[in-house]
C-alpha cells in the first residue's frame, strides 16, 4: 500500500479492515538502507542550504570582499564530474555482472575523488599564497568552511567506497556489492550536485 493512500486511512472503520489487513509492512518501495541514504542526503542538504543562506545574508554587510576563483577550481570540478561518471559506470558494470568494469569504475571513481580532494587543498594553498587569509575576509571564510565540509562528506563516502573495493578484492560476488555500489554512486552524484551549486554560487558572488 503506498504511503499517501495509507495516511488517508480510517482505521476505526470495519469496512477498511480488509485493505488494512493486506498491509505487508513497509510504506515506501525501497530497501531500508536506500531510504536511509536518501534521508541522510536530505539532512546534509539542509546543512548546506542553511550555510548558503547564511552566506547570502553575510554578503549584504559592508566588509564583504569578493575573492578570485583560482583556475584549478575548474579543473577540480571536471575531476569530480569524472568521479561521478566513473561511479555510474561501475554501477552499470555491476548490473551486467561485469566484475572488471565494476572494479575499474570504482577505482577510477575513488582515484578521481582523491585527486579532487588534493586539488581542493591546492586551491587553499594558492589563495594563501596570493595573500588572501580567511579571518580577514568573510567570503574566504565561507569558501574555506564550505569546501572543508564538502571534503569531509567525500571522505565519509570514500570510507564506504574503500570497504566495497576491499570486499571485491576478497572475492565477494558482484551481486553482493551491487547495492553498495549503487548507493556509492547515488552519494557521489549528490556530492557532485552539491558542489555544482556551491561552485556556481562562489563564481556568481
Amino acid at each position: 500500500m503506498e504511503f499517501f493512500r495509507e495516511i488517508r486511512g480510517k482505521p476505526w472503520l470495519e469496512s477498511e479492515d480488509a485493505i488494512n489487513n493486506a498491509q505487508l509492512g513497509g510504506s515506501i518501495a525501497m530497501p531500508p538502507v536506500r531510504l536511509a541514504l536518501r534521508i541522510f542526503v536530505a539532512v546534509v542538504g539542509v546543512v548546506f542550504s542553511l550555510s548558503v543562506v547564511a552566506y547570502s545574508d553575510r554578503m549584504l554587510l559592508a566588509d564583504w570582499k569578493p575573492v578570485p576563483e583560482p583556475t584549478i577550481m575548474w579543473l577540480n570540478l571536471i575531476v569530480l564530474i569524472a568521479s561521478s561518471v566513473a561511479m555510474q559506470w561501475a554501477v552499470v558494470g555491476a548490473r551486467r555482472d561485469r566484475s572488471s568494469q565494476l572494479e575499474a569504475g570504482l577505482l577510477i571513481g575513488g582515484a578521481c575523488s582523491l585527486a579532487f580532494l588534493a586539488g581542493q587543498l591546492l586551491v587553499v594553498r594558492q589563495l594563501d599564497a596570493l595573500g588572501y587569509f580567511a579571518p580577514t575576509n568573510p567570503a574566504l571564510s565561507f569558501l574555506y568552511m564550505l569546501t572543508a565540509m564538502h571534503a569531509i562528506h567525500i571522505l565519509g563516502g570514500l570510507f564506504v567506497w574503500a570497504r566495497t573495493v576491499f570486499r571485491l578484492w576478497r572475492g565477494v560476488e558482484v551481486e553482493k556489492v551491487l547495492m553498495t555500489t549503487e548507493l556509492c554512486a547515488f552519494y557521489w552524484h549528490f556530492l557532485l550536485a552539491l558542489w555544482l551549486v556551491l561552485f556556481v554560487w562562489f563564481v556568481i558572488t
Binding site: P11, W12, D17, L35, L50
Partner: protein
C-alpha cells in the same frame, strides 16, 4: 440495534525473520555495554539522560538558592550563577529531554509498538548512543577546565558568548559546549535515521501508518523535525567555533573589549539568532510532540476509551511539526526586526494554537464518559493537560509582539517556557515511566511512593511557576544574579523569590523519592501481570515480559485493528489487542453472557 459482530476474516500469514537477520550478543560486553538491542540502548540513553538531568536539577537548586537568599552563599558568584543558568538550560533541553524522548522512549517503544524485531540498523543505533555519551562527557568536562563552562546563556548569543567578559567565553568553556553540541547532533542523526526508517519500512503485517499508536506518530514527527532542525544548530556551532578559534567574523561585529579593539569586524550577531531559533523553536516541538503522542495513549488506555478523533490527532501532530518551522523569529521580537516581519511571525505563532487546541479538545473528549482509572500514569496525564494549557495560554501573550516586548527577558518568560516545555513534558515522562515500567522490568512501581511523588511534583510545580509569572509582571528580569536596590521592584518580590526557592527544593527532593522507588522496585517491586493496564498495543503482547531478544516469538504479530479498541460494544473484554484475530475476539452471546 446495529450489529457489531465482526465479519469472518481470512487468516494472514505472519512474517518470519530468518535467524541470520537477527543480531545476537555473545558476551557480557556485547550484551550489556556495546549492545545493539534497541531495548538496551534505550536504557543506556535513559540512564545517561537521567544522570546528566540530575546535574541540571542540582544547578537549578543553586540558582534558586542565590535568587531566594542573595548574599548568603559566598560560593555562588555572578560568574558561576551565569554558568549555572547556561548549563541548566542546555542540559535540560538537549541532553535530558531530547535524548530521553527520542533516544530513550524512541528506542524502547518503536520496534515493539510497530511489531519489529529491532531497529533496522542496530550497529548504527549503538554508535548513536556512544556518540551521545561522548557529547555528554565533553559537556561535563567543561566544568573542569580553567574558567569553567560557558555562561553565555543557553542561547549562546554572540558576540558575548566568545568574549572574555563572559564566563568561559575566552577559554575552553564555550569551545567544549559547541563541540559537544556538534557530537550530540551527529549521534542523534544516526539514531534519527533508524527511528524514521524503522517506522516507515519495518512495521509488521497489518500495521498501516494509520493503525500506529499516537506515541509512534509523535516520536516519528519529532524525529523528522529534529533531522531538519538540528542542522541549523550544527552550522551555527561550526561557524561560532571558527569565530572563536580562528578569528573569523561570521557572527562577530567590530567590537571594543575593555578598551581594546578586537580583530573581528563586519559579522552579524542577528544571523546567529536566526540560525539558532530556526533550530530552537522546532526543538520545543521535538520535546512536545513525543509527549503529545504518549499522553494520548496514556489517556486512552487508562480511561478505557478510544482516542477521540484519531485521524485529526495525527494530522494535528504533523501540522504542528510543519508550522514549527515558520515561527522562529517570535523569539527575536526585541532584536530590532522590521515590524512587518514581527507581524508575520506573530500570525504564524497564533496559527499554531489551532492544531494544538484540537489536541487539547480531543484529549478532554477522550476522557468524556470514559471509565477513568485514576492510576498514577493517568494522574500525570491529566496534570499534563492542565499544565500544558496553562503554559500554552501564556504563550499567546508572548506570541504577540506588543505584549512580548515589555515581558521580554523577564521572569514571565521563564515561567512560560518552564510550564510548557519543562514541566508539561516531564509530567508525561513520569507518567510514561509509571506506565511502561512493568513492561521493562516485570515489576510494578510502589503505588504510595508514586502518589506522593505525583502530588508533590504537580502542586510544587505550580507553587514555583505561578508566582514567577507575577515576578515577571512587576519587571523582575531573568539571568540576574542579584536585584540589589532596584527601585522599581517591590520588596515583596524578594519574599516571593524565597518562597519559590523553598518550593523548588521540596519538588527537587521529591524526585529523589521517585528515583529511590525505581531502584527498589527494579529488584523488590510487586511482580506485575503480563498486561497490567490491559492495553491493546503490541508492546504488551510479547511472549515474555520484559520482552526478550528479538521482541516477539518466532513469528511476528499480525495486526488486525488500531490501538484504541477499548470498550467495544458486543465484546466480553473491554479491550481487544491489535493482534487478536477477529475470529478469536470473545463476543457476548445473544443471551447477554
Amino acid at each position: 440495534m446495529v450489529d457489531t459482530t465482526p465479519e469472518k476474516v481470512e487468516n494472514v500469514s505472519p512474517a518470519e525473520v530468518p535467524e541470520a537477520d537477527l543480531y545476537h550478543a555473545h558476551s557480557f560486553w556485547t550484551k550489556y555495554v556495546f549492545c545493539q538491542d534497541a531495548k538496551v540502548i534505550a536504557i543506556q540513553y535513559s540512564g545517561t539522560a537521567v544522570v546528566i538531568g540530575m546535574v541540571g536539577l542540582v544547578l537549578s537548586w543553586l540558582m534558586r538558592l542565590q535568587l531566594g537568599f542573595p548574599e548568603t552563599f559566598s560560593f555562588i558568584s555572578p560568574d558561576s550563577y551565569l554558568q549555572f543558568v547556561t548549563m541548566h538550560g542546555m542540559i535540560m533541553v538537549i541532553y535530558l529531554l531530547t535524548a530521553l524522548f527520542l533516544g530513550g522512549f524512541g528506542n524502547y517503544l518503536i520496534p515493539l509498538m510497530v511489531g519489529a524485531r529491532d531497529m533496522v540498523f542496530p550497529y548504527v543505533n549503538m554508535l548513536s548512543y556512544w556518540v551521545y555519551l561522548l557529547a555528554v562527557l565533553i559537556l561535563v568536562a567543561s566544568f573542569f577546565v580553567p574558567g569553567g563552562p560557558t555562561g553565555a546563556g543557553w542561547t549562546l548569543y554572540p558576540p558575548q558568548a566568545i568574549l572574555s567578559g563572559t564566563p568561559g567565553g575566552s577559554g575552553l568553556g564555550i569551545i567544549l559546549m559547541l563541540v559537544s553540541l556538534a557530537f550530540f547532533i551527529i549521534g542523534f542523526t544516526m539514531g534519527g535515521l533508524n527511528y524514521v526508517v524503522t517506522i516507515l519500512q519495518a512495521r509488521t503485517r497489518g500495521m498501516t501508518l494509520m493503525r500506529m499508536p499516537l506515541t509512534i506518530w509523535g516520536i516519528f514527527t519529532a524525529t523528522v523535525l529534529a533531522l531538519l532542525a538540528f542542522p541549523a544548530l550544527f552550522v551555527s556551532a561550526i561557524m561560532m567555533t571558527l569565530d572563536s578559534v580562528l578569528g573569523t567574523s561570521f557572527f562577530m561585529p567590530a567590537i571594543v573589549e575593555f578598551g581594546e579593539q578586537l580583530s573581528y569586524g563586519g559579522g552579524s550577531p542577528i544571523l546567529f539568532q536566526h540560525l539558532f531559533w530556526f533550530f530552537g523553536h522546532p526543538e520545543v516541538y521535538i520535546v512536545a510532540l513525543p509527549a503529545f503522542g504518549i499522553v494520548s495513549d496514556l489517556l486512552s488506555i487508562h480511561a478505557r476509551r478510544h482516542i477521540f478523533g484519531y485521524r485529526m490527532m495525527v494530522w494535528a501532530i504533523v501540522a504542528i511539526g510543519a508550522l514549527s518551522f515558520v515561527v522562529w523569529a517570535h523569539h527575536m521580537y526585541v532584536s530590532g526586526m522590521n515590524p512587518w516581519f514581527g507581524f508575520f511571525f506573530a500570525t504564524t505563532t497564533l496559527i499554531i494554537a489551532v492544531p494544538t487546541a484540537i489536541k487539547v479538545y480531543n484529549w478532554t473528549l477522550t476522557l468524556w464518559r470514559g471509565d477513568i482509572h485514576l492510576t498514577i500514569p493517568m494522574l500525570f496525564a491529566i496534570a499534563f493537560i492542565i499544565t500544558f494549557v496553562n503554559g500554552g495560554i501564556t504563550g499567546l501573550f508572548l506570541g504577540n509582539v506588543i505584549v512580548d516586548v515589555p515581558l521580554s527577558d523577564t521572569m514571565f518568560v521563564v515561567a512560560h517556557f518552564h510550564m510548557v516545555m519543562g514541566i508539561a513534558p516531564i509530567l508525561v515522562v513520569f507518567g510514561a515511566i509509571y506506565h511502561w515500567f512493568p513492561l521493562m522490568t516485570g515489576r510494578m512501581l510502589n503505588d504510595a511512593m508514586g502518589r506522593f511523588h505525583f502530588w508533590v511534583t504537580f502542586i510544587g510545580a505550580y507553587l514555583i511557576y505561578f508566582p514567577m509569572h507575577y515576578l515577571g509582571f512587576v519587571g523582575v528580569p531573568r539571568r540576574y544574579w542579584s536585584m540589589e536596590d532596584t527601585s522599581f521592584i517591590p520588596d515583596s518580590a524578594a519574599d516571593l523569590n524565597a518562597f519559590i526557592t523553598v518550593a523548588a527544593l521540596i519538588v527537587g527532593f521529591a524526585q529523589l523519592v521517585f528515583i529511590y522507588n525505581i531502584l527498589v522496585s527494579v529488584f523488590k517491586g510487586k511482580p506485575s501481570e503480563r498486561n497490567p493496564w490491559k492495553a491493546t498495543s503490541l508492546e504488551w503482547q510479547t511472549e515474555t515480559v520484559p520482552p526478550g531478544h528479538g521482541n516477539f516469538s518466532k513469528e511476528l504479530p499480525v495486526v488486525y485493528r488500531w490501538a484504541y479498541s477499548f470498550s467495544v460494544p458486543g465484546t466480553v473484554d473491554d479491550y481487544v489487542p491489535q493482534n487478536v484475530h477477529p475470529n478469536d475476539v470473545k463476543l457476548v452471546s445473544p443471551e447477554g453472557k
